[in-house]
Amino acid sequence: MTEKRYKKLKCAEDLTGLMERHYAKARYFRFGRPLAWVTSGAPVELLRAMDVFPVYPENYGALCGARGEAVALCEAAEAQGYSGDLCSYARSSVGMMSQGKKAPLGGLPRPNLLVCCNNICGTVLKWYEVASRFYDTPLFVLDTPFIHDQLTEYSIQYVAAQLQELVRFVQKHTGRRLDQNKLKEIIGYSNQATALWQEIRELCRARPSPLNAPDLFINMAPIVVLRGTKEALGFYHKLHAEVQGRVQQGIGAIPQERYRLVWDNIAIWYRLYRFYSYFVDRGACFVADTYTGGWAMQLQAGEPFECLARTYTSVFLNQSLEYRCQLLLDLIQRFSADGFVMHSNRSCKPYSLGQYDIMRQVSQRSGVPGVIIEADMCDSRAYSEEQVKTRIQAFMETLDAAC
């Protein structure tokens, strides 16, 4: 059993409860609050401050992926003519729309609004348009110019101006107004939870590391989905205490930590435990990753619209390859890693194209080996167990020789 090699956190039940309550609320207990589908990089604090209830189709995609139910949804989208080469979160979501209540978890509830921010990719622009047509629902697109070298002042002004538009858009379609005090309060919650999540990740600098990649992936859900809520904050307080306890008692996430690795890209959801168990078997623990840290950004102080503009335009997926090289190098150094594994995720071009150069540069500069694994985050048809195993085997041999 793969789960045996996985040391379960006591908080796991809190997390399950939290997420179940979130989906139940979205469906049944919104008490008239309008529901918005939002992308993972949308400035959700603003929506919450206008009393809009956000749900995350990407999180739904990940859930379906982890339950092994994404492929059927992808196939439903393909049957409508959508190419099997498109992002599998997006395909799952499009497939879900046509399945109604028959979809896993009863499907995502119908949106009243769609808010799409392109700071993670261009796919979301197209995907949300499909949703907008399907549900005949208004869509707001927040354009955050990609940062190839530096964040310019006029980009910030451009994004801040659009945030003002977003407020007008929500007001027009829901009649709700922005409560400035509530916005400050929510930004406060958001920042506190973010800081805790960041600290939790930092605790993994300990040897042995208290958490492994699956822990990071599972526990990131609230920082995305419940960002800006008291519930998320409460959860991360509890998680922090537990992880700190592990560190104090010298408890590691895996039985015997021999190697410390860093992960790049989204998880392979349908193999979450089995995939990492190949590493656990050889004493390798993933102590950090580039993905779950993406939501550990603090909202800066100052005029809220400008801060939101600055923060959401600077998310790591909206920044250059050089920036991402630096990020990985920094993780390797701070977490004393012995190697890194990059998931070349055919679903996610913006995250994956460029990995070959990143790998070369990071290996050269850090002196630790890296490997690229070809797969897909949700579409298990693109996953070859044998190939992956061979790759991991070869990489572990390199590590054995290097350490």
Binding site: G122, Y158, L353, Y356
Partner: protein, 384 residues
């Protein structure tokens, strides 16, 4: 005698030893700015050579244009370029730009991050600031200075190219598909001054009545081998009228096949075709603003937010205006933006009762398969 139209980057340096060139991808890069700074803008297109170097830099799930462009550069075939400019369109181009910069640190590599929401009230001032930044970077890097006057001259020059190409497109039935394709390709590779003269001659040869409209006279392009006029007998026959749609056309074979199998492409909706030359830039007022306007007002590419309704309406009205009987989509594999728009466009065509055919290039193992599918499609139209 060398063919007057340049057909690839290969012969560029030998042909223009005293010119300076900067490469660019996609029609969202303002050639006018590069030209005004003293460079010949050269569009990077997909070459037909086998990929030898790019596999080490780009995953296989990436469109052939990106892979081929990078491959040509890594193989040293683009050594005459002093820089490469990228637009912000799809995720692939976004990544390609960074890969380029990392691999060619000595080159001028820059992306113009165009807004995705052309209809946002703030897009124009943002884009103008972005174009100005691009201009300043270009000036600083190459130690040149670009005046508004030079920019206006370049705008006029490029508008003329657009106008001439439009003239040609209206007469495309008189020339072979290959000639049409070659001319368009040459327009993105050659210095515009030279290209414009050549195309003007060619047009005169095709239609002397243009003389009255003050088109410049020149050496006869037919005798120089630039064009090959098509025998009129072919024109007379009744051929199904088709529209070709997609991101780019990298070789003329779909056009040729359609023709040889008895159809005709009357108009295309392709970035290496009509999307390149439609929508002139205003020659009045502030040139940077005029350029920005063109990009915001032109028919949007599927990378732009909210573009589908307009693309779909345009396609339907094009069909009506051209009395087209079918649409052929030529989509390269792994091109996300176009793949996203295909199902809704197909749906719009279904509703309008217009047949269509999808040719996914890269997928097509042989030209034979393409031939069979086009043939079946043409037969189906003829029966209707």
């Amino acid at each position: 005698m060398a063919h007057p139209f340049l057909d690839s980057c290969r012969d560029w340096p030998a042909r223009y030893p005293n010119r300076r060139a900067i490469g660019y991808l996609c029609t969202y890069v303002p050639e006018e700015i590069l030209h005004a700074a003293g460079f010949t803008p050269v569009r990077l297109l997909k070459a037909n050579d086998a990929i030898t170097h790019a596999d080490a830099k780009l995953q296989s799930y990436c469109c052939a244009l990106a892979r081929s462009a990078l491959d040509q550069a890594l193989a040293g075939k683009l050594g005459f370029l002093e820089g490469v400019v990228f637009p912000h369109t799809c995720d692939t181009i976004q990544c390609l730009a960074d890969i380029w910069r990392v691999n060619f640190p000595e080159l001028f590599v820059m992306t113009i991050v165009q807004p995705v929401t052309g209809d946002s009230p703030h897009a124009q001032s943002y884009l103008m600031a972005e174009l100005r930044r691009f201009l300043r970077r270009l000036e600083d890097w190459f130690r040149v200075s670009v005046t508004d006057e030079a920019l206006r001259d370049s705008i006029r020059l490029h508008n003329r190219t657009r106008q001439l190409l439009r003239q040609l497109s209206l007469r495309r039935e008189q020339i072979s598909a290959t000639t049409y394709f070659d001319t368009l390709r040459a327009s993105t590779l050659m210095p515009k001054e030279e290209f414009n003269d050549l195309l003007a001659e060619m047009l005169l040869a095709m239609d002397p009545s243009l003389l009255a409209k003050n088109e410049p006279r020149g050496e006869n392009a037919v005798s120089r081998g630039a064009i090959e006029l098509r025998p009129y007998s072919l024109l007379a026959s009744r051929r199904p009228r088709l529209i070709l749609a997609g991101p780019y056309l990298d070789d003329p074979s779909p056009l040729e096949l359609i023709h040889s199998l008895g159809g005709q492409v009357v108009v295309d909706d392709v970035c290496t075709g009509s999307r390149y030359f439609e929508t002139p830039v205003s020659e009045e007022g502030n040139p940077v603003q005029a350029l920005a306007r063109r990009y915001l007002e032109r028919r949007p590419c599927p990378c732009k937010a909210g573009s589908l309704p307009r693309r779909s309406e345009d396609l339907i009205s094009l069909i009506k205006a051209q009395r087209a009987e079918g649409v052929v989509f030529v989509l390269p594999k792994f091109c996300d933006p176009h793949a996203w728009d295909y199902p809704p466009l197909a749906q719009a065509l279904d509703k309008a009762g217009v047949p269509y055919l999808l040719l996914e290039t890269e997928q097509m193992v042989s030209g034979e398969q393409m031939r069979t599918r086009i043939q079946a499609f043409l037969e189906m139209i003829s029966y209707q």
